[in-house]
């Protein structure tokens, strides 16, 4: 005997504990099973790309903090790299190293958050995420020492970084690097070997390499599917070509592998940091930008505005969430003519339907958690 049932629609979000912001997921359910998933975006749309066309290149840097607010350093970095490409600026060596160090610290902080929140989505009721916060706080302390802010950092500048690190920064960073491996071991023991976490995430939300690449997925999600692709290796920027590190790759492309890859990447970031702190040279942290490109704009006392030559530039980096790219078109005026963000959160979200149809509601939440979206970046 079959019991007649009809599908019903459940809205997960925009107000929901596990949508990581204001993302909305319309699930059509047959009992607990998902038969259709519909993503509705735009609840956090702040029109950043359009607003950026009204502001000078320097004024746009704070916007890039506020797209991916869990990884402001990498947002800054990708944007200033695009503008530097446009202006053909040579960035001093020390600034490149500082950028690399900051980006890797940011990656650890962001992945810690991602792993913690993922465990939270599995129902671990805040404990893992609070423990991850313990390490993230230490990294945010380092950021605060370097630039005065903890979340929206605004540290990178066109041609370098805003200021050099203070002398007490290095000892504190080294101390952190010494503490972190113990913590990582603890997390691996408690989370990666946890029977319930394995039961909840093995074989869930699988993406094959073909599917992942055809959806243009990047970052830990792509690497979890077994594709060894990392912009840091494939198209090195900053000082990544001078340090030694591995690409962490998953085996089966499921939720568990994304989790494993993130944890492994935290260790690789640590490896990069250990080398970078030893190898960083002395020197200036900001390029001398010629007067030809620096001109007063508007009022005589107004901040200096760069006028890059007419042209377009695209710069990409490996942000904690994936390949983050900024595409900027200049018409020679102090404001960009076109400002576009290739945000990894948005693109990684696109195969969500593919991953979650046929699974249960509980799985959909875990899958969404494994994508590690930041809605500020999805909607811009």
């Amino acid at each position: 005997m079959t019991i007649k049932s009809e599908p019903f629609v459940v809205n997960i979000g925009p107000q929901h504990p596990s949508t990581h912001g204001v993302f909305r997921l319309r699930l059509t359910l047959d009992g607990e099973k998902i038969i259709d998933a519909d993503m509705v975006m735009g609840y956090l749309h702040r029109s950043m790309e359009k607003l950026a066309e009204e502001r000078t290149y320097t004024q746009n840097i704070p916007f890039t903090d506020r797209t991916d607010y869990l990884a402001a350093m990498t947002g800054n970095l990708a944007y200033v790299m695009a503008v530097e490409k446009l202006m053909r600026v040579e960035v001093p060596e020390r600034a490149l190293w500082l950028r690399t160090i900051m980006a890797e610290l940011q990656r650890i902080a962001s992945h810690a958050m991602a792993v913690g929140i993922f465990a939270n989505d599995c129902g671990a009721w805040q404990t893992p995420v609070m423990h991850m916060f313990r390490d993230r706080e230490k990294i945010l302390d380092l950021f605060e020492m370097a630039c005065g802010a903890r979340l929206t950092l605004n540290y990178m500048r066109i041609g370098g970084v805003s200021k050099d690190i203070p002398p007490e920064w290095m000892p504190q960073a080294r101390k952190l690097l010494k503490d972190l491996p113990k913590r990582f071991e603890e997390y691996e023991d408690l989370l990666l070997n946890n029977e319930i976490i394995i039961a909840r995430s093995r074989g869930i939300g699988t993406l094959t390499p073909e599917q992942a690449t055809s959806y243009s997925v990047s970052g830990p999600m792509l690497r979890a599917s077994g594709v060894a692709w990392d912009v840091r290796k494939a198209d090195p920027y900053g000082a990544y070509d001078k340090v030694d590190f591995d690409i962490a790759v998953g085996r089966h492309g499921d939720v568990y592998d994304r989790f494993v890859v993130r944890v492994a990447e935290m260790r690789q970031s640590l490896r990069i940091l250990e080398q970078a702190l030893d190898m960083i040279p002395e020197g200036p942290v900001h390029a001398r930008l010629g007067t030809a490109t620096v001109q007063p704009w508007g009022q005589p006392v107004a901040p200096l505005a760069y006028r890059p030559p007419v042209g377009e530039a695209y710069a990409r980096i490996e942000s904690p969430r994936g390949e983050l790219g900024y595409y900027i078109v200049s018409d020679g005026s102090p404001a960009p003519f076109r400002f576009h963000i290739r945000s990894p959160s948005f693109i990684n979200l696109s195969p969500l339907k593919l991953m979650s149809v046929g699974m249960t509601v509980a799985d959909a939440i875990v899958i969404l958690g494994s994508v590690d979206i930041v809605v500020g970046e999805v909607d811009r």
Partner: protein, 417 residues
């Protein structure tokens, strides 16, 4: 024992005090029914007061303990060390407007919280807090325990159904499926103590454990484990809190409830937790006895101490474990716990039969039974888990592959489960 021989000021058993009062009543010539009503009222009010106070205390304890596990401070602003936080919360819930959604079924919407609260409280009627401190020492106490706990199920379903909310509906459906499955496991687990004691009276179970100077825990380890797990399901405790899984279905069946109606659910959850802990203590852990200590320390304090210890285990799991999925939880009940408990019941039956038929001395018999059950239980659990595909190395955590080669593909399709 000492000079105190059941006098009214013998606080080792509050039953003495009440007994003294009732004797006074009888002396002044009150009719029998007043004595009967008075004693019930005293017991009921006492239990109500105790549960409310324990609830308030444990809201604070749970929040502080979990905060400790999570590197936080927990509530520490209202009153000394945040002790008044639960009181403030309770007041807030009382003063809040009790909103009923327009599309809800008003009568059933109200019935939900009331229905869930009553059984959670009534369970304590059969719990012996001390030798003379049982409100109603029914001869079918264990059965009463299960029957009353079963009222929980329709109450949750009514609440979820009447809310007319999809999250509530999902939560209620999950709860029904879950509770029905685990109730069977619970009943089968309770067969162990009942078979050993050959009585369903809760007082007899405690007396049996006292008499043989053992805890049923030692001769029924697997049964206790199953009962604890089933209890976690019944009280919606992590890792089985899927009926109100916060990260999935917001608050499950009580999503639409606010104010004091939510307060009822909240308190009922604690009461159910205490009830399960009380059952575990009575049936498996010697109740109010503690190897002679009950002669010196008030027996009810020993009972409460044990109860809070067991409840603490539930808090602990809540602070540390992630949540299972509904199908995994159901599979665990039907494929793992149920067969295990059936075999356990068979083994216990055989052991009791052999013991009675052959008239063996208690000490060697209990030692043998304990050893056999422990070893057999361990083998059974491990073997059955292996049979279901756990612990074969397939479930072990894997580490990522590390490579330097850009663009290489290391994908292997997931082996079929």
């Amino acid at each position: 024992m000492f000079l105190l021989k059941g006098e009214w000021y013998d606080l080792r058993d509050l039953g003495n005090t009440v007994g003294g009062l009732l004797d006074d009543l009888r002396d002044i010539g009150a009719p029998d029914w007043t004595i009967y009503v008075t004693s019930s009222l005293i017991g009921a009010v006492g239990i109500l007061l105790w549960t409310v106070l324990s609830c308030l205390a444990f809201i604070w304890i749970e929040r502080r303990v979990v905060a400790l596990m999570q590197n936080r401070k927990g509530p520490n602003r209202v009153g000394p060390a945040g002790l008044l936080q639960p009181v403030a919360d309770a007041l807030k819930l009382l003063l809040k407007e009790a909103v009923t959604p327009r599309s809800a079924d008003r009568v059933i919407f109200w019935a939900g919280p009331v229905l869930i609260f009553i059984p959670a409280l009534v369970v304590f009627a059969v719990i012996p807090f001390a030798p003379k401190m049982t409100l109603a020492d029914l001869n079918v106490g264990v059965l009463f325990l299960i029957a009353i706990a079963g009222i929980n199920t329709p109450a949750v379903f009514l609440a979820g159904w009447a809310s007319n909310n999809k999250y509530s509906m999902l939560g209620a459906m999950r709860t029904i499926a879950m509770l029905i499955s685990y109730e069977i496991v619970q009943v089968l687990a309770l067969l162990g103590p009942v078979l050993f004691v050959s009585s369903m009276r809760m007082g007899d179970v405690v007396a049996w454990q006292d008499h043989f100077n053992t805890w049923i825990f030692f001769i029924q380890p697997v049964g206790l484990l199953a009962f604890i797990i089933a209890g976690a399901v019944e009280t919606n405790r992590s890792p089985m809190d899927i009926s109100e899984a916060e990260s999935e279905i917001v608050a499950g069946y009580h999503t639409e409830y606010g104010g004091i109606k939510f307060g009822f659910f909240y308190q009922a959850e604690y009461l159910a937790g205490f009830a399960i802990a009380a059952s575990i203590v009575t049936l498996y852990m010697g109740g109010y006895t503690l190897w002679g200590l009950e002669d010196y320390v008030p027996a009810w304090l020993i009972f409460l101490g044990k109860l809070y210890t067991v409840f603490f285990v539930y808090i602990w799991t809540r602070g540390t474990l992630p949540r299972l999925r509904i199908d995994q939880l159901m599979a665990f009940a039907w494929k793992f716990l149920l067969p295990l408990m059936l075999i356990n019941a068979l083994v216990v039956g055989a052991e009791v039969l052999i013991w009675r038929e052959n008239d063996i001395d208690a000490t060697p018999a209990l030692l043998a039974i304990g050893a056999v059950n422990l070893v057999f239980g361990a083998i059974l659990v491990a073997g059955w888990a292996r049979f279901l595909g756990h612990g074969t190395g397939k479930q072990r955590g894997q580490r990522a592959i590390l490579t330097q080669e850009v663009g290489a593909v290391h994908f292997t399709p997931e082996p079929a489960p």
